[in-house]
C-alpha cells in the first residue's frame, strides 16, 4: 500500500474515531460548515454509532431493559460501550460481556439478579442462532430394543441451552413477557432448560437433577448413566418426563448405540 496514503488517512481515522467517542472534532481539517457548527455535524456520526449499538443491546437484553427502564438502560449501555465496543462486524453475539459488566456496575448493585437475567438472555440468543440440525422424535427410537436404551449416547441439538442461577431467573423472564398475568416472583434459585423446536426458543423451568442429567448427556455419557446421575441428585427426578420433553422439543439431534447393556 502507498505509505503516504496510510499515514495521512490513518491519522485522519484516528482523529475521527476519537471524535466519535467524544473528543472535539477540530483538527479534522473539515470544510465549510455552512452555518451548522462542526460539533453538531459530528454529532450525527456520534449518535449513529452509539444509538445503533445501544439499540442492538436493547434488543438483545429486552428483559434487562424492562427491569431497569428504557432511560436507565440506555445510559447504562453507553457506559458499557466505553469499555466494550464490538469487535466483530456482525452484531450477532455482541454484548457477551454485558452480564459481567452488570455484576460489577455500582448503580445496579442492589439488583443482584440482573447479571444472571442477562446471562439467561445470552443463552436465549445462543439457542436462537444455533446451527440447524435435525431433531429426533419418538419414531426414531422405534427400532431400538428396550434393553439397549440405557446404552445410547445422545447428541444434544445445538439449540439446547442450560442455565442455573441463585436467582429466580425463569420467573423473572416469564413475568416480563407480554401478557404475563401470574403471581409475583419469589426469591429462590431456578434452573432453565432451553430447546428450539421449529426455530422458536422455548424455556422450561427444571430442577437441579434435570440439569445434572442433561450435563451428563452433554459430556457424552450413556443415557443410563445420565439417568443415574440425575436420580442421585433428586429423588423425584422423572426421566421419562424429561425424555418426553426432549423428544417433543427437538432436543436430540442424533444417537448412537454403544452396544452396552443397561445396568
Amino acid at each position: 500500500m502507498n505509505s503516504r496514503a496510510d499515514n495521512s488517512l490513518s491519522d485522519f481515522q484516528v482523529r475521527f474515531a476519537a471524535a466519535v467517542n467524544g473528543a472535539p472534532a477540530d483538527g479534522l481539517n473539515t470544510g465549510d460548515d455552512r452555518g451548522i457548527p462542526l460539533e453538531r455535524r459530528m454529532d450525527v456520526y456520534r449518535n449513529n454509532v452509539h444509538a445503533s449499538l445501544i439499540d442492538a443491546l436493547a434488543s438483545a437484553f429486552s428483559v434487562v431493559q424492562k427491569l431497569v427502564g428504557e432511560e436507565f438502560f440506555r445510559a447504562m449501555a453507553r457506559e458499557f460501550l466505553r469499555m466494550h465496543m464490538p469487535r466483530s462486524r456482525t452484531l450477532i453475539g455482541f454484548g457477551e460481556e454485558f452480564p459481567a459488566f452488570l455484576d460489577d456496575f455500582p448503580p445496579v448493585a442492589t439488583l443482584a439478579y440482573l447479571g444472571d437475567v442477562a446471562r439467561l438472555e445470552c443463552a436465549w440468543l445462543r439457542s436462537y442462532h444455533a446451527g440447524n440440525e435435525g431433531a429426533l422424535g419418538p419414531q426414531d427410537f422405534a427400532d431400538v430394543p428396550e434393553r439397549e436404551m440405557d446404552g445410547l449416547v445422545l447428541t444434544l441439538h445445538p439449540g439446547v441451552q442450560l442455565f442455573s442461577s441463585d436467582f429466580p431467573v425463569w420467573s423473572i423472564w416469564q413475568s416480563n413477557q407480554n401478557g404475563y398475568d401470574g403471581p409475583k416472583v419469589a426469591q429462590k434459585p431456578e434452573s432453565v432448560l432451553m430447546m428450539r423446536p421449529k426455530f422458536a426458543v422455548e424455556l422450561h423451568l427444571v430442577d437441579v437433577a434435570t440439569i445434572v442429567f442433561v450435563e451428563a448427556l452433554a459430556d457424552g455419557r450413556m443415557l443410563g448413566d445420565a439417568v443415574e446421575a440425575g436420580m442421585k441428585v433428586g429423588a423425584s427426578f422423572d426421566p421419562s418426563r424429561i425424555l418426553g420433553l426432549f423428544l417433543s422439543g427437538g432436543g436430540f439431534s442424533r444417537f448412537h448405540p454403544t452396544g452396552m447393556r443397561g445396568v
Partner: protein, 294 residues
C-alpha cells in the same frame, strides 16, 4: 463452514425491490407479493442457523436476493478483516445473491466495529485505498461488486475530487459497478450545498448496477437545515424527481426502497416500491417511443 447453495444464482431484475425486514417475513411468505427482489444486510445472517436463516431461505426460494454489506469497511486503513470476508463469502455461497454491494465508507477502527458508515476525504490516497480493497473483495468473492455513495455530514479541506468523479474512477480502475443512492446524493447535496441534479447527470448509466431510494429526516440547527439519512419515512418528492431524472436518462435499474427505522406495515412499504416500478414503466414507454421501438 463452507456452504453449498441449493439456489441457482439469478440476476436482480431492473424493477423495484425492498430491504427485507424480519417484521415482514410472515406477510411476505403468506401473501407472496408481486415484487421483483429483496435485499438484506449479510451481517444480520451471520449466525450459524435458526429462525433468521430459516426465513431467509424460504424467501430466497421464491425471490431473487441482493446482498448489501455494511461491515467490511472498504475505506478503513489497514487490511480488510479476514474473518468478515470469510463470513461474507459463506453468505454469498449459501444464498447466491444476484448482486453484492458495499460502501464508499469506513466502519471499523483499531479492531472495533463502529457500526456506521463514516466519511473519507476524497483524495487520491483515499482512492488508492478503496481500489486496493475493492480489488481484494472482488477477488475473495470471485465476482463483481457494487460500491455505494454515502450520505455525508462533513466535507474536508484538501479533497481533490468530487464524489461522482471519485466513484467513476473507482469503477474504472477496479471493474466494480456503482450502487447509486439517490437519497444519499440529495442529503449530501443539501448538507454541503452542491447541485444534486448535476451529480445525478454525471454518472454514466453503464456503471450503475443498482439504485437506492429512502426517506430521511430534517433537523434544524441555528435556523439551518441538516438532512439526516435515517431510512425512517417515505421517499420525499425531491428525491423522486431526481430518480425520475436518472431513469429517464439511463433506463430502468434494479431500484431498492430502504426503510430501516419506524418500519411501517408491509403494504406501506410495498406501495413505496410500486411507485418506483410505475415511474420506471412510464419512462421505459417514453424511451421506447423516442427510440422508435413502438
Amino acid at each position: 463452514m463452507t456452504y453449498h447453495s441449493v439456489f441457482q444464482p439469478d440476476p436482480i431484475p431492473a424493477t423495484a425491490g425492498v430491504g427485507l425486514k424480519p417484521q415482514h417475513f410472515r406477510d411476505i411468505l403468506e401473501t407472496k407479493p408481486a415484487i421483483g427482489w429483496f435485499e438484506v444486510h449479510p451481517e444480520n445472517y451471520m449466525g450459524e442457523g435458526g429462525s433468521p436463516h430459516a426465513y431467509l431461505t424460504d424467501i430466497r426460494s421464491h425471490y431473487s436476493l441482493s446482498c448489501h454489506g455494511v461491515g467490511l469497511s472498504l475505506g478503513g486503513v489497514g487490511p480488510l478483516d479476514a474473518d468478515h470476508l470469510y463470513r461474507l463469502r459463506d453468505f454469498v455461497s449459501r444464498y447466491e445473491p444476484g448482486l453484492v454491494s458495499e460502501h464508499l465508507a469506513w466502519s471499523a477502527h483499531d479492531g472495533h466495529f463502529l457500526n456506521d458508515l463514516l466519511p473519507l476525504p476524497l483524495t487520491d490516497d483515499a482512492l488508492d485505498l478503496m481500489v486496493e480493497h475493492v480489488d481484494q473483495m472482488q477477488e475473495a468473492l470471485g465476482r463483481q461488486v457494487l460500491v455505494e455513495n454515502p450520505s455525508t455530514y462533513l466535507t474536508f479541506k484538501g479533497e481533490t475530487m468530487k464524489e461522482a468523479d471519485f466513484l467513476i474512477a473507482l469503477a474504472r480502475r477496479t471493474g466494480c459497478k456503482l450502487l447509486f443512492d439517490v437519497n444519499n446524493v440529495y442529503v449530501s447535496a443539501r448538507n454541503h450545498g452542491f447541485d444534486a441534479a448535476a451529480y445525478i447527470d454525471a454518472v454514466p448509466g453503464s456503471l450503475i448496477g443498482e439504485v437506492h431510494l429512502a426517506g430521511h429526516a430534517v433537523e434544524v440547527i441555528n435556523g439551518v437545515e441538516l438532512r439526516i439519512d435515517d431510512h425512517g419515512s417515505e421517499v420525499v418528492s425531491d428525491v423522486w424527481y431526481l430518480y425520475e431524472r436518472l431513469i429517464a436518462r439511463v433506463g430502468p435499474k434494479p431500484s431498492l426502497i430502504e426503510w430501516d427505522t419506524n418500519i411501517p406495515a408491509w403494504p406501506v412499504l410495498f406501495f413505496e416500491a410500486q411507485k418506483a416500478d410505475i415511474l420506471m414503466k412510464q419512462h421505459d414507454l417514453v424511451l421506447g417511443r423516442r427510440h422508435g421501438h413502438e
